[in-house]
Symmetry: C2
Subunit: 653 residues, 2 copies
């Protein structure tokens, strides 16, 4: 790690060797003009290296003289030692502006599964176990049937009672027993309920106890992620994600259901998602060098529509009022029967759902994150096109889905895009010149802006007064970056020749409006849920964010726009793909499988469209941060302090 | 019914209108010479109709004068009224011979399932039940998932608890519920154990409770029989049998196993037997006009090899010492998964086995015949190539298989054949002329002799002294019918021109020897089992015969040759296809399914080849009736009475 000191701000930050200097500045809360975001095109991110060493940072935008003076382009420079870097203040900016508090980006704490903790709590009890057995060979005096021999031995020597044997085991047992002198490994699948039976699901010749794996999988509308788990250690042996093949048949669940209603549509969508599932299975098995016969179990979680399509269950009533799913609990199903490229012995466990729009992915998140076991009142949010909200603790759980729209994933935003290479993901603005500092994924020229970039840009501009609480640009500012184009106000994030595309990358008022409506829907969602259970924001102990979106969001910015309630960012945790986490946890401990049915029953579903207060809350949330700024005391205090002092923009200080 | 009086015997019998007159004579115990058995070819069965009316009976073998005198050929004549029939005694046969007691053929009492009795005993509780339900339609306030709606309604209004729902039901429930305004029929499969769950296996729109069927099936090595049952009434709606398609791959279980050991052999045999099963299913469904969706369950029983081949379970260790089957209990399996042409909702229940050679067909017979519920000590025999013997009652059951060889099915007999058209199935002999009276199946010219005919012929000749206790012909008799051909003694049952084939139909000494060895194996089987459990023949309360063979055997004749222990024929019951009977009973009452596992455990298997006394008993049984005639007191008494009087044959009386 190297320490980088930025001057004249006197703000320092520690970064890894080789870190991009522009990103280091952003993370330190230091604004450096940078439209092109990382390919040296705009040439605006000139900084002077006063001490220490960087690699790169030189292009034809810098004269030989400049280079000798220590000028480098921050976007092209990598930190190679402790540094002192001076940001040339090219306009008259007073110390007040320099020190204008810019909180370093703070994303949610990422929560990982702690295997040791699980083991200590006795929670690491994989549902599938292997036992190596040396059976006596049959004789004329002892000619028990093969299965009876195995079962009796397990009873006598391993105190295994209430055993059931799968047909696939009966089919192969004569061969397997005789392949290695009646020395075999039996795979036992434990019952979820104590009253249940242990099933013998596989027999393999010799001792294979060292190889016992599970697959956990998230069946997302857009992406399917799989993890290969070692059931002895709990470790992840491999991981792979791929686009759900159903994407060609519709972007969202509604268009998929519409397709499924066509003749042969359901079968087609089922076939296509299974092809993706099999691709993911194939990849993780191959990458980890595991024999398919060593996979003992698979757990899958997905939203209600994805689950029904995968299981070939008619989804048509999901999209029609009163929004009825076919089922919320699914029986254990032989994976091969579903068309999965797994052994005959593998049972697929599919996470139960709560309702048509609070699916198994959310239940998995609640199980995996432990919300259902905690005393703390938790707000769980899985943010995406279809956002789901759960509030509760071990005692009770209330949940709802709200249609936030696709703004957080870049949808409905003029130059919005998913969080992929070239997306502006972080942003700062010079309060005086209104020049932007863009940080893109991959440090390449911008192609568009993704959800986290959008939130940061809107929050930053709002706090600086560049946009007002209605999301409208201050019409009085004089900068070519803010302009009216075809009657619509917009801010130019990057000029055409600084981008990867053939036009300017802009942020428009309708974009901001879409974001406000999306965050308004989310905010109204959890406010309505809280009200329905008679609680308020102050009662919340913590927030858990799930979903691809939450990983990189600047929490303070999300609070500024009113997407999250204003609270201590330390109380916000990010669990990543909650669906995958829950599927993984279920693979590692039977306890989850046992508890999940009860938890599903406990989760009270609220149909927001049927809840009168939802629309009121929504309307009230269509402001930055909210109609009632009393709900955002810190922001209000800052705004008032600023008013009392000076508006840095308007007053040009 | 008409009464037919035979003179000069003064013996009468009641027969149905249109009955064959030759058969009537045989059944009355009246000998009429009849080589050709029913096509008027030999012309020997001339009788005089002294009173009453027959139709037919006239051919070119009778002169106009004879006809006018009332002569008719018995084999061609049908009884149309009460008759007085004189059998012309063409040789000097004294009254002693005429009155030589010939017991009318007595076959075992056929036992049928008494449904009313089952219902009274509370035993008629089909494992699958239908319920018609009028569910409330969902509303915004009540938008339960479809499955939950169904399950809740059953709980609330039908006190149905502990319900499980099949995936196939989840798949179709959205469509089915909405097809007829949420009025549906649910099919419930009851658990075998009280602790188990009731499964909802099907939902159908509207009220279909009137149509609820089951299939019972016997998977025989040779033949596959299926029955379609109405689960509301217990009645048989249709029945069909066909040759097991595996016959082309070997006649017996051993050759089938040998074939199954070849690459792809097991898969082939499984495929072939399933094709036959599907053919049988298709036929009975079509004949009965039942929709395949109305079939709710199927129960199958077969010997251990047939079961393993059907389930695609490697059978190789069945045929190798120490004769180990893969399993004796099979889990419930989805019929469609096995390749059966039945709905997704149908579970196949496969009867458990005891050992490699006492299979599910025998267990089914024990369950179906009620042996396991009676206090009476019962000898149960399923006679065929592989004969199985069970002795016991409700307290205990001992069982064994013995390889009787195929003699009872006509195998290993020079002109032996299965019980098909043209097979001599009954026989009598004129003690003086040694002319035969052949009765064939279908009343056509003989093609050969089947098991029941063989037993009757050998028993009759033995009792008349034509063959001795070693099964050798009396060399002193002067008749062209007994001759030495290629060094082998034989009796000509029918001359070439009286047959359907191009040669004489004969019964040879090696044939008799084969029969003696077959019956010796059977006799030794039950004697050894009795000895092993410390009992004797006198302890037996009754005998149950099962299998195609037992239906037409003359019980007294079977006792004369020592195939059955000598006992009151009234104590012998014939249940027909025991395997099919058990499968049918299991379809009609869950009680059987519940008891069967316990019964299977109770059945102690004896490997006769490992039981020292078996060979001794076998050697002792290689005589007619047995070395120890003390075991056949009635036969011994008759023989002694005859010796004290006169040997009708030798003395020409």
């Amino acid at each position: 790690m190297h320490k980088v000191m930025f001057l004249p701000h006197k703000r320092d930050i520690k970064v890894a060797d080789g870190a991009n200097l522009l990103r280091a500045a952003m993370d330190a809360g230091v604004h450096v003009n940078a439209s092109c975001a990382g390919e040296g095109v705009c040439g605006k991110c000139r900084v002077i290296i006063e001490a220490g060493e960087v690699s790169g940072g030189i292009s034809e935008k810098l004269s030989r003289a400049d280079i000798e003076k220590g000028y480098r382009q921050a976007c092209l420079a990598q930190v190679k030692s402790d540094l002192t870097v001076r940001v040339p203040v090219e306009s008259a900016v007073d110390a007040g502006v320099l020190n204008a508090r810019r909180t370093p980006r703070q994303t949610a704490r990422i929560k990982e599964i702690n295997l040791d903790e699980l083991k200590e709590k006795g929670l690491f009890v994989p549902p599938v176990e292997k036992k190596y057995l040396e059976l006596p060979a049959p004789t004329a005096q002892d000619n028990l049937p093969d299965v009876t021999r195995l079962v009796s031995y397990l009873k006598l020597n391993h105190a295994e009672h209430r055993l059931e044997v799968d047909l696939s085991v009966i089919r192969k047992i004569p061969r397997v027993l005789r392949q290695n002198e009646f020395k075999v490994t039996a795979t036992l699948a434990r019952p979820v309920q104590e009253t249940g039976k242990t099933r013998i699901i596989n027999v393999q010749p010799g001792d294979t106890t060292e190889r016992n794996c599970a697959i956990a999988m998230d069946i997302g509308t857009t992406t399917i992620y799989g993890q290969l788990l070692d059931l002895r250690t709990g470790r992840i042996l491999g991981e792979y994600g791929d686009f759900n093949g159903q994407i060609s048949y519709g972007e969202d669940v509604i268009s998929r259901i519409v397709y499924a209603e066509k003749p042969g549509g359901l079968e087609k969508l089922s076939e296509v998602v299974l092809a993706t599932i099999n691709k993911v299975i194939g990849r993780i098995i191959k990458k980890a060098g595991v024999d398919p016969d060593e996979i003992s179990t698979i757990t899958l979680a997905g939203n209600t529509t994805m689950t029904q399509l995968m299981l070939r269950i008619d989804p048509r009533s999901i999209r029609r009022a009163p929004y009825v799913p076919a089922a919320t609990l699914y029986p254990p199903i032989k994976a091969a029967d579903l068309g999965m490229a797994l052994g005959d012995h593998v049972t697929a466990l599919v996470y139960p759902a709560v309702s048509s729009y609070v699916g198994g992915d959310i239940v998995a998140g609640i199980m995996g994150s432990g919300v259902y076991r905690t005393d703390e009142l938790t707000l769980y949010m899985d943010i995406g096109t279809n956002a789901e909200i759960v509030i509760g603790n071990r005692e009770w759980l209330a949940c709802a889905a709200c249609s936030a729209g696709p703004a957080f994933e870049g949808g409905g935003i003029k130059l919005g895009m998913r969080a992929a290479k070239g997306a502006i993901e972080d942003f700062s603005i010079d309060p005086l010149t209104l020049e932007p500092m863009n940080i893109t994924i991959g440090n390449v020229r911008p192609k568009g802006i993704c959800g986290s970039g959008l939130i940061t840009a809107v929050a930053t501009m709002f706090e600086m007064g560049i946009i007002d609480s209605l999301g409208k640009f201050n019409r009085d500012l004089e900068t070519p970056r803010i302009r009216k184009s075809d009657g619509i106000y917009e801010y130019v994030l990057a000029w055409k020749d600084e981008t990867q595309i053939d036009r300017d990358v802009v942020l428009t008022e309708p974009d901001i409006d879409n974001l406000i409506r999306a965050k308004g829907a989310m905010y109204s969602g959890f406010m309505t849920l809280l009200e329905e259970v008679g609680l308020s924001l102050n009662d919340l102990d913590r927030v858990i964010l799930a979903g691809g979106f939450g990983s990189y969001v600047d929490l303070e910015k999300a609070m500024i726009i009113g997407l999250l309630p204003e609270m201590d960012p330390a109380k916000v945790t990010y669990i990543g793909n909650g669906s995958l986490l829950g599927a993984r946890m279920s693979s590692l401990t039977n306890r989850i499988r046992k508890d999940v049915v009860e938890v599903t029953r406990k989760m009270t579903n609220f149909e927001l469209s049927e809840t009168a207060s939802y629309m009121d809350n929504y309307i009230a949330a269509l402001f930055l941060p909210h109609t009632d700024t009393g709900k955002f005391p810190k922001l209000k205090a800052r705004q008032e302090a600023r008013k009392a002092g000076a508006n840095p923009v308007k007053n040009g200080v």
